[in-house]
Amino acid sequence: MAALLAPTTLWFLVMLIMPLIVILIFSFGERAAVGGYGGGFTFEQYANLPARLKAFQNTLTYAPLGTLLSLLVAYPLAYFLALKVDRRFKLVLLVLVIVPFWTSLLIRTYAWIYILGGRGIPTILEWIGIEGVRLINTPTAVLIGIVYGYLPLMVFPVYVSLEKLDKSLLEASNDLGGNSFKTFLQITLPLSMPGIATGCMLVFILLMGEFLIPAFLGGGKVFFIGNAMVDLFLQSRNWPFGSAVAATLVVIMLITVSIYMRLAMRNKTGADQSLM
């Protein structure tokens, strides 16, 4: 048994625990004169955290908002794929959801700069008489990019939970006189909760570290904590402060995720069938 567990333990140790320890050690150090890590023991980096308050606030606003919007867009799609589409087309449509992932997110997000830019959607809106719409480099643009980029991560878990749904339950509800809205609310939605929980978790966790979409579609003006970290490591080369920000983010994530898990687990079905 111990021998079987060894690879897993080693993997966790090398890939997770050790990097986290390094981050913690760095976060109590000082920036070397030319950048990087300069040793030492100080709480200065943590004391300096308020300088990135806006970035934390932005992340904690846009990550839940982006997750919610992704869910609102993904659910009807997953529902349609799982329950309404003819079996013959199902696989093709599922593959079509993944196809965009064959291209780098960087390139797809870059394309949105042009779609949302002055010569893109705003020009089309002008043709139909709506003038002065500005999309690119606004929070709206960032949210559009998030929904676009994270959609499959939300669609698949929800799809799986809907696909597993026992169709006879829908018929039973129908037989007992429930209309389709009531059936959805009392049968379909509760039974798809595990998928919703998984999808939201996947999207939310990744969004907390997102930096590419706000950098490209927010024009550097909608600034996430991920952008702050990229800056600290790749521009200012302030590894200790960057590590302090990273460690703080991990703590914030642990807190929010465990609150979320507790809420999700309260739902009994969620506890039984959660995919997590």
Binding site: R31, A33, V34, G35, G36, A51, R52, K54, A55, L94, I98, F101, W102, S104, L105, L106, I113, Y114, G117, G118, R119, G120, R134, I136, N137, G149, P152, L153, F156, P157, Y159, V160, E163, K164, K167, E171, N174, D175, G177, T198, L202, L206, L212, A215, G219, G220, K221, F223, N227, A228, D231, L232, F233, L234, Q235, S236, R237, N238, L275
Partner: protein, 386 residues
């Protein structure tokens, strides 16, 4: 009741249901659960590597490869293809947005870069940190020191040793869309006034400490290179005040200028040439209150894995005809007089590429200390996250 009878199971649906049960719903569900999660995992796996900015490490152990790190829109693909055709060395190009980013990569180590393009003010830092190697000029016979103006080539020599060969030189000013900005800003002071006035919502500053902080410093009448904490604090106030009026903070300003979303941007003169050639209303301004003059160089990192290929590439890129072709693609002026002589005469007298000497009097070369000054680094980061 009619509603329910509508939903009665048809014979076709019944058969489908039966068929489904025959296949065994449990194994099917498990299968779907596994494949569904498998899909989600595959999807994440595909997404995460693409989020990493660079993958240059992947090629370190390939002998037929050269990893070349440079700036966006700063090379002629025809040259690289010709080099590959002649030598069999495939070139992997990485484009970077700032010298700081290049330094960060080199400091972290294991870049796998063979040749990269640092700007004048970074070289002494690289030498001090032991990140670049002294060049054996006998392996670069195409390089002719006497054809290069010492004003531009000078920073390549540190403590009497040559570490780089020059590539191009240029200036950092700003570009305006003269159809939209009609007040004719001439200085960085005007630039920030216009940002808050007729250009509000349509101005871009670089995501780059040197030029963006430098512009704010010049607007206040200070040196482009100042690291004085009080002067930097004033510059920060100028930037923070203008932030709500900015269209973007990005060094990739051509898309915004071209789409008409942005009307004014801090700009390097080669980009200005590219924009002006396509859109004549794009006007380049060398600010009267200062700014930057710079030279970019080719250098070889200390840990370059393909040293022979790197020297071959440097020598090839120093060929005057190759330099002229390179400049044709990106619009920046070569430092090498032999290459300028090969260019069309109109370029040699182009006011954007070769401005009158008196216009350049106020310009400064970036200073080494700006690269490593922690206050400047933190200032730009604070400005962005404000």
């Amino acid at each position: 009741m009619s509603k329910n009878s509508d939903k009665q199971i048809t014979s076709k649906q019944f058969m489908r249901q039966l068929w489904r049960y025959k296949r065994g719903s449990i194994s099917r569900r498990e299968f779907l659960g596994v494949t569904g999660l498998g899909m989600a995992t595959a999807v994440m796996g595909a997404a995460i590597p693409s989020l990493l900015p660079q993958k240059s490490w992947a090629s370190t152990d390939l002998g037929d490869r050269l990893v070349f790190s440079t700036w966006p829109n700063y090379w002629n693909q025809a040259n690289l293809d010709e080099f590959t055709a002649n030598t069999g060395v495939n070139i992997q190009v990485n484009a970077f947005g700032s010298n700081e980013e290049m330094l960060a990569k080199l400091q972290a180590g294991g870049t796998g870069w063979d040749v990269f393009v640092p700007t004048n003010y970074t070289i002494s830092n690289y030498v001090e940190l032991g990140l670049i190697q002294e060049l054996d000029l006998s392996r670069i016979p195409n390089y002719d020191a006497s054809a290069n103006n010492p004003k531009f080539a000078g920073p390549a020599t540190v403590n009497g040793k040559v570490y780089c060969v020059p590539k191009n030189w240029g200036t950092t000013g700003f570009i305006i869309n003269s159809n939209k900005i009609t007040s004719g800003p001439k200085s960085w002071k005007d630039f920030f006034e216009v940002t808050k006035g007729e250009g509000s919502g349509h101005t871009i500053v670089h995501d780059y400490q040197l030029t963006t902080i430098g512009a704010a410093l010049c607007a206040l009448g200070y040196s482009f290179n100042s690291i004085d904490p009080n002067e930097l604090a004033e510059a920060e106030a100028v930037l923070i005040e203008s932030k709500p009026h900015l269209f973007a903070i990005t060094s990739d300003y051509q898309p915004g200028m071209r789409s008409g979303d942005a009307w004014m941007s801090i700009c390097w003169n080669g980009d200005a040439t590219q924009l002006h050639n396509d859109l004549p209303e794009m006007q380049y301004v060398i600010a009267s209150d200062g700014g930057e003059i710079w030279t970019d160089f080719y250098a070889i990192p200390a840990e370059a894995p393909h040293l022979d290929a790197a020297y071959a590439f440097l020598n090839y890129m120093q060929d005057p005809a190759v330099q002229a072709r390179d400049a044709e693609a990106h619009g920046y002026a070569p430092t090498d007089a032999r290459a300028i002589a090969l260019q069309p005469a109109s370029l040699a007298t182009d006011p954007i590429l070769h401005p009158a000497e008196e216009l350049m009097n106020g310009l400064e070369f970036g200073a080494a200390q700006t690269l490593t000054d922690p206050n400047r680094a933190e200032l730009i980061a604070r400005f962005k996250s404000a």
